[in-house]
Amino acid sequence: MKRLGLIAFLLIVVACAPAERADVSTETRQGPPQVYTVNYPLAYFAERIAGDSVAVVFPAPDGVDPATWSPPAETIAEYQRADLVLLNGAGYAGWIQRVTLSESRLVNTSASLADSLIPVAGDVTHSHGPTGDHSHGDTAITTWLDVELAVGQARAVFDALVRLRPENETGFRARLLALEQDLLELDEALKDVAARIGDARLLFSHPVYQYFVRRYSFNGLSVHWEPDEKPTDEQWRELSAALEVHDAKWMIWEGDPHPETVSRLAGMGIGTLVFQPAGNRPAAGNYMSVMRENLRVLQQAFPPSL
């Protein structure tokens, strides 16, 4: 029997539990959903509509133009982790085409406004071989300067936020209506000023006012000058040539121009006005306060006739 006991190996029971594949830990974030945007107007719209129920992040550094900014890898990783990424569309932020983001979290806020986008004339394309593939011209990017398009984008932001937080739809809708009211009031005031400007010829320092010009039917001509740079002699010659057919008395800038530029323009009988596109977060105030300041500048330059 001893020997029988020694050969009691009939069943080998494995005591330890089966080896399990290590669970992939998924990052769980505390706090509200994160909404990233590619420019400040969209961040403003999202903040106005969502209030505190989401965390709105626009990570571009102060002072850079978000349209041409290329975020570093760490910032791209933040965009990847966001619950929602609001895109401007119309080719804004070309870096989007060169990074990897989760398609299911991207929202193109101007997708439904495609018919209203303005193609950029005079853009030089290229092709490979006489019959090969070719590139297409771009579209104008500052869609929010047309208040009607801005309202459309705000509604797209609302729709995206409701999909993210459906339980907050009622609050979102109330805040969207308030935002639309502010935008429409701004639009009416700009229309009043535009009526006073009428057909007067205007110059624009930079080709970023296409939607603004179209919305209010301005008679405008764009050059390609930078506010913080003194124009070259060639640029002054081009301006003089343009003035022969487009005799403007005002030049509208996206930022405070160089003092020497201002004085030289004044010598040519051209006044300077600053109308900030508000693509990035302002040093003070917000999108609406910036636009109201823009309005005030125009109203001051073109006061109601007595």
């Binding site: 020997r3 029988l4 190996f9 009939l10 069943l11 080998i12 494995v14 089966p18 080896a19 594949r21 290590a22 992939v24 830990s25 998924t26 290329s70 890898a73 791209i76 990783a77 990847q80 070309g94 085409q97 060169r98 990074v99 990897t100 983001l101 989760s102 398609e103 299911s104 005079g122 853009d123 030089v124 394309t125 290229h126 092709s127 490979h128 071989g129 006489p130 090969g132 593939d133 070719h134 590139s135």
Partner: protein, 393 residues
């Protein structure tokens, strides 16, 4: 009874070699069909797990098996291509999420899979080091790829040309490894993952080159008009995407028409999946939608049929083995006639002697059954690990 068992046991121990051969033979005959069934069952479960984890696949009309094998296991043969707009259509339907797949290119023997970030979260793939790809030209490698190629985060891998003699083809693209996945014991371990746009760059649909408007690129210009510059074939295109040249990379044409091998469809719920499948039921539809579970099930049915033939063969061999063992036993009885006569003469009754002989047979059968059971249990317990570490790698 104890004395009978004792004598039977002592006889078997004394003739240990004969006993060992008999026990081994009968153990194998019992274990082979059972163990084979366990291994096949576990392998099937492993294969089916991959298929079950993929709700639906959209691809070009054609072989569902080719579509499933390329999409699930990244087989070298890829199906007819579909447009990227198929993924957009699925996503815009609101019925499902769409994950694009472009599993066409290779880096040596490893498949390069163009996809989106959603692929990693869908398959619950974690990172042993690094991060997902962030910009074009970056890639994420599976654990087995990292081991085989000796690469880690920060190293590079290069795509292979589709044909060796394609002199006018696209130059291989050197890609930076941004992350290495944790071992998943799935075909993902063997793959290199890139953004689908990077896969299009590998194909040559997107590229980067000097700005043709600049003087330095004059040698690459064929002709120019006021609004278009035509490049010639000597224009050098970059074969690596770096921080310095990434802005130059672009695509020509509408991305909606760019190619995919499949779209991985994740329905919001069962009803949405049924509705979606109904939309592809039309015979005139340009693409098809398949349930990978159904396709792999049909494949496994075929394999299981082969298994049944093997089992039948083993059973026949087993019967022959048992017959041989019986013959050995009978011959053994003849050789032991003097021993049996001695037991009878010293007072053993015929029934008792017969009991002892039968006890020998019973002990051999019992030992064989026990060994076969033990080996089967070990197979069941360690089979998945063996399959994962040897069969699947």
């Amino acid at each position: 009874m104890r004395d009978v068992l004792y004598l039977a046991w002592r006889y078997l121990v004394y003739h240990r070699l004969k006993t060992a051969i008999l026990v081994t033979s009968i153990t194998l005959i019992i274990y082979l069909p059972v163990g084979l069934n366990v291994v096949v069952e576990q392998s099937s479960q492993h294969l089916m797990a991959r298929a079950e984890a993929t709700p639906l696949l959209v691809g070009a009309k054609g072989s569902p098996l080719e579509l499933a094998l390329n999409s699930l296991y990244f087989s070298p043969e890829y199906p007819e291509l579909i447009d990227y707009s198929e993924a957009t259509t699925v996503a815009d339907s609101g019925l499902a999420d769409a994950i694009p797949l472009y599993a066409r290119f290779r880096s040596r023997s490893q498949p390069i899979v163009g996809t989106s970030l959603d692929y990693f979260s869908f398959h619950d793939l974690g990172f042993a080091s690094g991060r997902p790809m962030a910009v074009l030209g970056e890639c994420v490698v599976g654990a087995a790829v990292a081991e085989a190629l000796g690469v880690d985060t920060g190293d590079t891998v290069t795509s292979s040309p589709e044909t060796v003699f394609d002199l006018a083809g696209v130059y291989p693209l050197r890609m930076k490894v941004s992350g290495v996945l944790e071992k998943a014991f799935t075909p993902d371990d063997e793959a290199i993952f890139v953004d689908v746009k990077t896969a299009w760059i590998i194909q040559g649909l997107g590229h980067g080159h000097q700005d043709l408007a600049r003087a330095e690129a004059a040698s690459g210009v064929l002709s120019r008009t006021d609004d278009n510059i035509i490049a010639n074939a000597s224009l050098v295109q970059y074969n690596e995407i770096t921080e310095d040249n990434s802005d130059s990379f672009h695509f020509h044409g509408d991305l909606a028409g760019y190619p995919l091998t499949a779209v991985l469809v994740v329905p919001k719920d069962e009803k949405s999946g049924v509705i979606l499948r109904g939309r592809y039921a039309d015979e005139n539809a340009g693409s098809q939608i398949i349930r990978p579970v159904t396709v792999i099930n049909e494949l496994l049915d075929t394999l299981l049929t082969i298994q049944q033939f093997i089992v039948a063969a083993v059973i026949i061999v087993g019967l022959a083995t048992i017959a041989t063992a019986a013959l050995v036993f009978m011959l053994s009885l003849r050789l032991r006639q003097r021993e049996i006569d001695t037991m009878l003469k010293i007072g053993g009754s015929r029934p008792r002697v017969a009991s002892m002989l039968l006890a020998e047979v019973a002990i051999v059968l019992l030992l064989s059954s026990a060994f076969a059971t033990a080996i089967t249990l070990l197979t069941w317990r360690f089979g998945p690990a063996v399959i994962e570490n040897i069969v699947l790698t």
